[in-house]
Symmetry: D2
Subunit: 95 residues, 4 copies
């Protein structure tokens, strides 16, 4: 069975994502209750930061485990993993 | 009763936020089902983009309505609204 | 003669941009001297931050002067200025 | 003599950085000639994009060469390289 690097911190990742889900529901309440635009924007920036932190910790584990493992094995799979990671980083930086 | 600029598109904003909530729950499922890290990262970048688009459309309406209204009235409230909007933009750019 | 909002701080903006130009030349020296990749990346992130700060201060003055002025005059020019500012903010957030 | 991954494309990196330097000098000219704020902002976003592309290509080579090399050798240096790369990615994402 394949398990990936982030598997070790699975529960921590799920907790993070549940908090983010709660924050997004908080945004919905703010819109429903006609909160002030600037307050909604401030909260949206906070959710964006939380999502980026989640992505960065996932990426860190991916590099530590999946990529490092592939590189240790060498060959084309190693190259493929590095290329794939680079592309994911580019998407993250541009998102 | 105070209503803000985004009030006009309230339902559209709520629909967007519900889709984003669904995307965040999708991320949780991916983590629970041990999906491949890169696929989770790709999906996280998509959620980030959706959140930014939400923030940008909210900000656009805020400038069009709240800020424009305050500026038309003039005085210190106008200055305060512009300062506040600039700070929200800075937080958004840095988030 | 038209002068724009940032005119008041023109010298300050030029000083900032000259510092940024110096930082970019510093990056060239680092590459020429085979500096360590991570050090070049750290310096590149610093240049990005400096550029964003420049853009945010320019935008702040644009909102305070050009947009506020157009809005005070009203009509389609006001709408056009707000639309234009929103689009510039979106480009900045996504850059 | 230590040479890093980006060494192979050194000339290409230098060319990129010289173009970016030219773009920053173009921004100075725009400010000096009182160009329209929105046009300066558009150009600033373009420079930011160019800098990010430079950083991403440098990072890609760093992962392909320096990190992969360290990981192949194993031990604490491998861990250190991955940690260092993760931190550089985080700075880049947040810049």
């Amino acid at each position: 069975m394949a398990t990936y690097g982030y598997h070790h911190d699975k529960q921590q990742h799920l907790n993070r994502l549940r908090r983010i889900e709660g924050q997004v529901r908080g945004l919905q309440r703010m819109v429903e209750e006609d909160s002030y635009c600037i307050d909604i924007l401030t909260q949206t920036s906070a959710v964006n930061k939380a999502l980026r932190s989640f992505a960065l910790s996932l990426l860190d584990e991916h590099l530590k485990h999946c990529v490092a493992h592939a590189v240790a094995n060498g060959g084309t799979e190693a190259e493929e993993k590095v290329r794939e990671a680079s592309e994911a980083i580019a998407r993250l930086v541009r998102s």
